[in-house]
Symmetry: C2
Amino acid sequence: MEPIAGGPAQLVLTASIARRYYVDGRSKVEIADEFRLSRFKVARLLDQARSSGLVRIEISHPGNVDLDLSARLQEAFGLRRAIVVDTPEDEPAALRLQLGKAAAELLTEIVTADDVLGLAWARAVTAMTDQLTSLARVPVVQLTGALSRPDVEANSVELVRHTARLSGGPAYLFYAPLVVPDATTARALRQQPEVAEAIGHFDAVTKAVVGLGSWDAGQSTLYDAMDTDACEQLRKRGVVADISGVFVDAKGAPVQSKVTERVIAINAEQMNAIDEVIAIPYGLGKVEAVRAAVRSGLVNGIVTHSPLARALLDEVP
Amino acid sequence: MEPIAGGPAQLVLTASIARRYYVDGRSKVEIADEFRLSRFKVARLLDQARSSGLVRIEISHPGNVDLDLSARLQEAFGLRRAIVVDTPEDEPAALRLQLGKAAAELLTEIVTADDVLGLAWARAVTAMTDQLTSLARVPVVQLTGALSRPDVEANSVELVRHTARLSGGPAYLFYAPLVVPDATTARALRQQPEVAEAIGHFDAVTKAVVGLGSWDAGQSTLYDAMDTDACEQLRKRGVVADISGVFVDAKGAPVQSKVTERVIAINAEQMNAIDEVIAIPYGLGKVEAVRAAVRSGLVNGIVTHSPLARALLDEVP
DNA sequence: CACAGCTCCGCTCATATGAGCAGACAGGTT
DNA sequence: AACCTGTCTGCTCATATGAGCGGAGCTGTG
C-alpha cells in the first residue's frame, strides 16, 4: 500500500495511464499501443498505481443509503440483506421515519407474488408499513400479539390490515396481547379461531419483518411491558435480545423459559424456518442485541443507521 | 452517467460486487460464483455501477504534484512532459521555489548519460538549478547570454557552471549579454571563442530548459531589458511570447526581425532540433504565451502550477 | 574478473472478459 | 388470441489479461 513510484515524470505517466484505463475505459493493449509500451508494463504500472494509492476507488451514491457500509455489514455478518441509512438524525421518531422509508423500499423490492409476508408488532415495523406505497399481492400474516402503549396509537392489527390492503392480498390477523400474565391464558388465546388461523400460516411465511429489542429497560417494548420478576428471570438465563417475543442469549441461542409460554407470538423454530427475517434496529444500545439476533440465524436482514452499523463492525471512531 | 439502479437491495448488491471487484481485486468469474450470478450479470452490474457514478475513481497522491491535472495538460497539448504543482502559493518567489523543485526532480529523472543539457537564462531556470541535487554526467551548454538585473544575483554563467559541476560533465559557457544594442555587436560577440564554442554545441543538445515570457511589460525579462521601439516593433509583428530569445506569434510561428539579430541566443531552428525543451511558466498572465510556445512545437515540456494549468485547459472556475 | 543477488523486461499459455446475438418473458395494443 | 416492443438473460467466439518463467542488465563483493 505504500511504495510510491519514482520520479515525477514516471508518476505523471502512471497517472495518464491510470486515467486512460479507469476513466476512459480503454484496454491495456490499446494503452500499451498508444504509449509505446508493452501491455505488461502497462499492467505493472496500473498495479503500482493501485497499490500505491495513486488511484483511489470510492463507492458512494447520492441517496442517504451508505452502500459501502451496507455491503460491508452484509458481508461481515453473512446477512441476506443490509441497508444502512446514513442520516445525521438521532431523534428516535425522525430516525424511525428514515429507517421506515428504507425498509419499505426494501420490502417493496424483495417481496414477490410467491411470498407470504409475516409482520410482527414493533414501532419500527409500523414505521415501515406507514411508508409502504406498493407491495406485490401477497398474504400478510400477523406474527405477534400487540402491545398497546399509550404513546403509540397504531397496533399490530392495524399494521397487518393496512399492509394487506395495500398489497391486495388476504390478511391473517387477530386481536390479542403479546404477553399475558400466565401460560394458561396464553394457551386459551392460542385456541381462538383467528389466532389459531394466523398461527397456522406461520409455516408458510417466507419473508418477515420483526422487532428487535435489547433486553434492558427502555430498549425493548416487551421488557417494559413485562413484570420485573419475569424480566429478571430471563436476564439470568442469559437473554440479551428479544426478537418479537423470541428470546436469545449472547451466543444467539434461543432461550426457553416459562415466560416463553406466556407470549403470543411466533416461536424460534417457526421463525427459523422463514427464508428472510428482517429487523430494523437503531440506537447504540442495541449493538449486543443485534449481534445476538444475527448470530442466532433467526434474523438475516438488517435495516439500520450508520452509527449502529459502524459499532457492529467495530469501527467506532 | 445518470440512470441509477432500482431498489435498495439491488444497490447494495451492486455495491458489494463493486467492492469485491475494485477493492478486493477479485475476478468477475469469482464474483459471479460467489453471488450465484452469471459473469455477464456481474459485468453488467459493474458497468451500471460505473456509469451511474456509484463507483468513483480518483487519481491523486500525497505530494504537491497534481497528477491528474498534469496528465490532462500533457495530453491536451500533446506535450512530452507536464508537471503541475498544486500549491496555494501565489507569491512569485515562493512559487518559483516550488516549481524549481519540481523541475529539478524532473530533470534529474529524465536526463541520462547520453544527453546533452542546454540551459537558458531565466529566473525560473535558476530556481530549478538551485534545487538540483543530482544529475547524470552530461555536458551542459549555455543557450543564451545573461541579463543581469539588479534584483537577481545569479547570472546565466553561474547557472551553467553550477549545474555542470553537480553533473560532473563539461560546461560550455560564455560571458555575454542576452541582447545588445545592434546587430553588429551581436555578430562580433558571436565570434568570440567561448561564445562560438557554446553555439557550436547547440546542435548536440538533446534536452533543454528555457525561459518563457509573455510579450508584455513585466511578463518577460527580455521585454523589460529591451528598448521600447524594439518591443513595439515585435509586438506589431504579432509576437506574443519569447522563448529565451526566440520570438513567436499567437499561432506559434517564429518571428524573424532585425531585433532577432541583436539577441545572443539559440535560434528557432536550433531549438526546434532539440528533443525535449522544457519551460517553467507561472502566473495567469502567461496563458497566451504558453499556448503560443506549445503551438510552436519548440517547447514540449511544461512545469507549472495549477491555476495556470487550469487556465490553459479552459477550466477557469 | 567472476559471480551472486537484484530488478526489470517481455514471452507463453491458460484464463478472464467483451461484443454481439438470439431466446425468454412481460406488458401493452390490435 | 395474436402481435409488437422493450428488457433481461446467458450463449459463442474472438480478444484481453494474469501468472509465472527465463533472460538481460546492473551492482556490489570477494
